[in-house]
């Protein structure tokens, strides 16, 4: 079975081809450089770029995969959540493909796809669903931070999510305050590697609360006040590294503590993590260390699958097809605020 998948929920145009659990090709065209000039994603520009990039990206994917449009058995696209006009480009193109050749179609929840991206591994990338076990999954990105109880394949419930800013948003806004380029997450990661994470103390919001929710807006405000009260500190290269390391430590501490505690509370033996912030090296290290101490198996999404990609959309669609999940009608609309159940 060959699945053609599209992902255009934000600022990456991605098309993938998947066959029997293996990613034949996953091509991503990132718009990050264009949006960096504006200090964040500009939805109107994102939609324009998706329209320009979709076919070249799709044609590259077909070429890399060594298959043709006639070989496609199933079509899928991210239906939500995401930026409305960005989502629409991928969704309508995918629906039209499916309609034109009479193939089944799946509209996929972007977060649900993230839940399974840590099970895609190796080279060539393939899904290891035979090794699937119930898990607590951390999805952490610029737009979302949530913990999900994944009971079995396609069965999950959200345990908690952010009440305000996402963790990635906290990284980006901290970066903005410090004059770092957008997206600031990778720069903070780089600077923090040579900084002292204990140099400055920042709050760990909701870390010790007996719930699975997150809140990062208070931490962001705390960083703002800190910078206001320590003018010139960020001009010193080492102090800047220390500040980045300290803010990052606070974010990572909350994410790791709450994820491991949720896994223990639910009695699962596996933790997974995905989403753009999962590229953060400190988060990966701390999750590994905490899971080892708690005797939990940890599955981290590969770096290429942490950020938005169509491979995870295709893998999930193929799994849905195999497990006889309900198809999506081709006239389905985008669902920009689609919450994971």
């Amino acid at each position: 079975m060959i699945v053609l998948a599209f992902e255009t929920s934000c600022d990456e145009t991605s098309v993938a081809l998947v066959r029997d659990g293996q990613v034949l090709a996953s091509v991503v065209s990132s718009q990050v450089k264009m949006h960096a000039e504006y200090g964040g994603v500009v939805p109107e520009l994102a939609a324009r770029e998706h329209l320009r990039n979709l076919l070249p990206v799709a044609n590259s994917a077909f070429e890399l995969a060594g298959v043709t449009a006639r070989d496609v058995d199933v079509v899928a696209a991210t239906q939500g959540p995401g930026l409305p006009n960005a989502l629409m480009v991928g969704l309508k193109a995918a629906e039209a493909f499916a309609f034109a050749v009479g193939k089944p179609f799946f509209g996929i929840n972007h977060h649900e796809a993230h839940l399974y991206s840590p099970w895609i591994t190796g080279s060539p990338a393939h899904a290891e669903f035979e090794r699937f076990e119930p898990n607590v999954s951390l999805i952490v990105s610029g737009g979302h931070t949530m913990l999900v109880d994944v009971q079995s394949e396609l069965q999950h419930r959200v345990l908690g999510s952010t009440m305000d800013d996402a963790a990635g948003e906290c990284f980006d806004k901290t970066g903005k305050l410090l004059g770092l380029a957008y997206p600031a997450g990778p720069i903070i990661d780089r600077l923090a590697e040579q900084g002292n994470p204990s140099a400055f103390q920042f709050p760990r919001p909701l870390r010790n609360e007996d719930n699975h929710d997150f809140s990062f807006s208070g931490l962001k405000t705390s960083v703002r006040y800190f910078i206001r009260d320590h003018p010139g500190l960020a001009d010193d290269a080492q102090q800047l590294r220390d500040l980045c390391a300290s803010v990052q430590a606070a974010i990572v501490d909350v994410l790791v503590t709450k994820t491991v505690r949720a896994a223990k509370k639910l009695g699962v033996r596996c933790v997974t993590a995905s989403g753009g912030v999962t590229c953060n090296r400190s988060l990966r290290r701390e999750l590994e260390s905490a899971c080892r101490r708690a005797h939990l198996t940890l599955r981290l999404a590969d770096a290429a699958l942490c950020t938005d990609n169509a491979a995870m959309v295709g893998i999930l669609a193929e799994r849905k097809m195999k497990l006889n999940a309900a198809l999506t009608e081709v006239d389905a609309e985008i669902v920009p605020n689609w919450s994971l159940a």
Partner: protein
């Protein structure tokens, strides 16, 4: 050539199929709101024309100006179809469709096609309609209300024109007209080159240059 035409650029969305000039079928959706069912419309029009999806050889899309959301939905649909079957694509100005529609409705002389450009401005194009032809006199541009008001007795036509100019005549771009226009054209373009008419320069505010990249 069997042409499927789409126009989602105005509140009156339409889909048409043409098998030569004489045989055109059209479905028009005037329901309020943004929700639309383009594939149900296409299914319906193909059925009316007794055609299967596989027989469609070209898709002609109304590229506005008008609702970016609707226009992009049409373009993305055309792109996905082209990816699947390799059919040909054409972009047709919705203004040209309105002028051609006016001409076939019997309107004559010099007319102004007027569309909402938001921010208190308008898209304006001037066309000359004679028996059998519609010819562009002045290309599409963005103007203020006063420019249109100073155009004298020249008839104003457009999809929402009476909202601002009560004496105007409501005319929507129609897929049937786009299909007819497309049947005379051969300037097919690759799907990635198909885009809405972006007449206004973007004015998004750039961030200050970062200290560290």
């Amino acid at each position: 050539m069997k042409i499927l035409a789409l126009d989602f650029s105005s509140g009156q969305r339409s889909v048409a199929v043409a098998c030569g000039k004489a045989h055109v079928r059209e479905v028009i959706d005037t329901s309020p709101g943004k929700a639309m069912k383009p594939f149900a419309m296409i299914e319906s029009v193909l059925e009316a024309a007794n055609l299967t999806r596989a027989k469609v050889e070209c898709i002609a899309v109304g590229v506005g100006p008008g609702s970016y959301t609707g226009i992009r939905a049409g373009i993305a649909l055309a792109q996905g179809w082209q990816l699947a079957t390799g059919l040909k694509l054409l972009g047709i100005s919705s203004v040209e469709a309105i002028a051609a529609q006016a001409q076939s409705d019997g309107l004559g002389g010099v007319v102004n096609v007027v569309l909402d450009a938001q921010r208190g401005e308008f898209y304006l194009a001037t066309w000359e309609l004679t028996e059998g032809t519609a010819r562009e006199l002045e290309p599409l541009r963005i103007v203020g209300r006063e420019t249109i008001e100073s155009s004298g007795d020249r008839p104003l036509i457009g999809p929402e024109v009476t909202k601002w100019f009560p004496h105007g005549r409501l005319l929507h771009p129609r897929a049937a007209t786009i299909a007819a226009l497309a049947s005379t054209r051969s300037d097919f373009i690759p799907g990635e080159k198909l885009e809405p008419i972006y007449l206004r320069e973007t004015s998004f505010v750039k961030a200050p240059l970062p200290r560290i990249v």
